[in-house]
Symmetry: C2
Subunit: 118 residues, 2 copies
């Protein structure tokens, strides 16, 4: 069997998925992608955890490139950054496509077993 190598583009999306893999962070993303630029205090309203915990989650999301902050007076506003999430979306689509192709190849192989696929 050939040694399988995963495309580097897919590997780069792992941190994005990891950032989205927490319910609290997923909630924050959902709130921010509704459009506004919200402060930490405002974002804490929608949760049950501390402001400090929210700050840490925002840092994780920022590290993954999913949000970015804008200083404004004594507030620190956060807004959604769609670029990385679009990359992740395209990665999932690529996997789906590859799966469909594999199914098609398998089906064709079953229908014409004399043709060896290599």
């Amino acid at each position: 069997m050939r040694k399988p190598r995963t495309p580097a583009t897919l590997q780069k999306t792992a941190p994005v998925f990891a950032a989205l893999g927490d319910p609290t962070r997923l909630h924050l993303v959902a709130v921010l992608c509704a459009g506004g630029a919200l402060s930490i205090a405002q974002l804490t309203m929608g949760t049950t955890i501390t402001r400090q915990a929210v700050t840490k989650h925002l840092a994780v999301l920022a590290e993954a490139g999913l949000v970015h902050d804008v200083r404004q007076g004594r507030e620190r506003l956060w807004e959604f950054e769609p670029a990385r999430l679009d990359e992740a979306r395209r990665s999932l689509e690529a996997i789906s496509r590859q799966w469909d192709q594999a199914l098609r190849r398998l089906k064709a192989l079953v229908e014409r077993p004399d043709r060896t696929d290599h």
Copy 2:
């Protein structure tokens, strides 16, 4: 400000993202979605870690519904399960759509500032 509530369908996809958030697991998914049903030993070939570690990663992926196993003789074959990944893909598309809508609303508000959007 209104208390924001994230749709339950999005929250349910958090474990899927968490499962995809590890480079090794992402690699396993990529290998399996290429079509075959592979044994644990075969899947370990493509990595630098132990067979036991691969087994644990497969358990996480199975818990998230991304793969499932089929016992066959002394082997345990694993294959890709596209359903959950499609859900995750649709979740990301939903977020993208919501973001685009928010941008359009904002743009319309800027172009016609007399119309208050509420």
